[in-house]
């Protein structure tokens, strides 16, 4: 019971820090939005023509929402690294609170943040023509998938933060895979447009899979399979990263 209270307090601290850091907020919200409009302007017509009449925004917005979640994990990694180095984590560890609540507080707080940022991104995408057509349950499912996807990258971020030797190393180690996943996903460009040998990678990319799930949940299309695949990624991340994070933390 007290672990839950502690986690809540520490998650609240992380959210409060985020809300009080204008440049963090601007970065977390603005960058994905800039990307959204840039892609829409540059590739909109091009890709639109290649997707047999489907609207590009319907595919693009979910991917940008997911990207904002993965991109936010860079902030998680850097933030956790700063906490570790500044001594505040040592203070938490020397207090008689559950040691896991520090990790849990970080993950829960940043999960909430990821969903909030996703909501803002979705709202702006709405202005650009993105629509939910599946009813309130589908909207709920949409954000649940976003959280599931964020979960993978948040654990990756805390593991990287504990293993890295500098702040630059943390952001470097997270920025590269996040950016790669974005460009090697089926969100910007349909899978068929990639060279054949790259297509399996694009298909297995969690960003493509979760993107498919979000497309299904917002505009209609297959939902079950992509959600299951996203879930599989989340389970794999949980099995590998969570024990690793806990061990590194102890």
């Amino acid at each position: 019971m007290s672990t839950i209270t502690e986690t809540g307090l520490l998650a609240g601290r992380n959210l409060r820090r985020f809300a009080k850091s204008p440049q963090l907020v601007a970065d977390a919200v603005m960058f994905p939005l800039i990307l959204l409009f840039l892609m829409l302007l540059v590739f909109g017509e091009l890709v639109g023509a290649a997707t047999h009449g489907g609207r590009y925004i319907d595919r693009l917005a979910p991917v940008i929402v997911l990207f904002s979640a993965a991109y936010g994990a860079v902030g998680t990694g850097v933030g956790f690294f700063t906490d570790l180095r500044s001594g505040i984590v040592d203070r938490f560890r020397s207090m008689n609170i559950s040691r896991l609540s520090v990790l849990a507080g970080r993950i829960v707080g940043d999960l909430v943040r990821a969903v909030l940022v996703a909501a803002v991104t979705t709202a702006v995408a709405h202005l650009a023509g993105f629509r939910f057509t599946g009813g309130p349950l589908a909207v709920l499912g949409f954000f649940a998938v976003v959280a599931l996807f964020a979960w993978i990258f948040l654990w990756l971020a805390v593991v990287v933060a504990m293993a890295a030797s500098s702040e630059q190393a943390v952001s470097g180690a997270l920025n590269t895979p996040v950016t790669l996943l974005l460009f090697l996903s089926s969100g910007f460009v349909p899978v068929e447009q990639f060279p054949g040998w790259l297509q399996p990678v694009v298909r297995a990319n969690p960003l493509s899979l979760a993107g498919d799930a979000l497309v299904g949940l917002s505009g209609g299309g297959p939902v079950l399979l992509p959600v299951l695949f996203t879930g599989a990624w989340a389970v794999a991340a949980t099995v590998i990263l969570v024990p690793l994070a806990v061990r590194l933390y102890k």
């Binding site: 601290r13 409060r16 820090r17 001594g87 020397s94 207090m95 609170i97």
Partner: protein, 316 residues
């Protein structure tokens, strides 16, 4: 409250190939203040980290407030307040928000945490800055907040890891007053410092540590005695002549910073020095008998000078 203070027996800690702490033993009696004194890298922080359950021991045993560090870490954590070397507070939050957060984590309810925060902010001279973000605080204010954060809930044993490192003289003075206050309240205190004057001023007993080993232990007075009696300081011109004259008569004479010092002195030495100088027709500006400083103790025991404050002469 618990029984014991801090007991450390043959503590050993190895990081990779480097032995950080080797066979360190000492005791802090309940209500006593012990200063763990040593230069940078001597192993002081490692000892504190072992005692506060942040890192596991590699050998020996230690107990804090009656709880074994290895066997009952939760019990240890419930008995200690730790103020680390770096101000471990949240820079984005305000001072008040920090203290409320720590209070709530330590199971105070909302109202009690707010009241305790207010009390500590006032007591530590942070009342005016209470609702400003900690990032805007001075170094001294951050340290005070850090110490306050560790005292949100009263604990029988307090660890202070280099509480004044990096502070300006005014900040250090304020910190010393706060620590003296804790001492008067009867807290058991283990304090690490590289500053001899700090240990001399705050601690009942000093454990001198260098390269991970205890090299001396005792009250400040006992340690000074180990260097051998007192020293006689002479300020007089011309210095070379004074030095020569005194060296002819006494064994251990050194010169530094315009002062000629005769070591191993007592009151008879003082009289002799006065006589010798009169014979040589030297008029002394100042002659005094004093106990050796801890710098001198350190030098005698380790063969090298201890770490120094930079930018100012901290010795009294």
């Amino acid at each position: 409250m618990y029984g014991g203070g801090v007991e450390v027996e043959h503590l050993r800690k190895v990081f990779g190939r480097k032995t950080a702490v080797e066979d360190v033993s000492f005791t802090v009696e309940p209500g006593a203040v012990v200063g763990l004194l040593g230069p940078n890298g001597a192993g002081k922080t490692t000892v504190v980290n072992c005692l506060s359950t942040l890192v596991p021991l590699d050998g020996g045993r230690a107990s804090v407030a009656g709880h074994d560090v290895a066997g009952d870490p939760a019990g240890v954590r419930a008995s200690i307040a730790l103020t680390g070397q770096f101000a471990a507070v949240d820079g984005v939050l305000t001072g008040r928000q920090n203290l409320v957060l720590f209070g709530r984590l330590l199971k105070l309810d909302r109202r009690a945490a707010a009241a305790r925060a207010e009390e500590l902010l006032t007591a530590f001279g942070l009342g005016e800055a209470a609702d400003k973000p900690v990032a805007s605080y001075s170094g001294g204010m951050r340290r005070r907040l850090d110490l306050a954060a560790s005292l949100v809930v009263k604990r029988p044993v307090i660890f202070l890891d280099e509480p004044t490192t990096g502070l300006d003289p005014a900040g250090r003075q304020e910190m010393w007053e706060i620590v003296s206050g804790l001492r008067e309240e009867g807290a058991t205190l283990l304090l690490t410092t590289q500053y001899l004057e700090e240990a001399d001023r705050l601690a009942d007993r000093i454990v001198l540590i260098d390269h991970g080993r205890v090299i001396a232990e005792g009250t400040p007075g006992e340690l000074k005695k180990r260097v051998g009696g007192q020293v006689c300081e002479v300020r007089a011109e011309p210095r070379e002549q004074v030095l020569r004259t005194l060296r002819e008569r006494f064994g251990d004479v050194v010169e530094s910073g315009g002062t000629v010092t005769v070591r191993g002195a007592d009151s008879e030495t003082l009289a002799e020095v006065v006589a010798v100088l009169r014979e040589a027709c030297v008029e002394a500006d100042d002659i005094q008998l004093r106990r050796p400083t801890l710098d001198e103790v350190f030098f005698v025991l380790t063969g090298r000078a201890p770490a120094r404050r930079t930018g100012e002469e901290a010795r009294s």
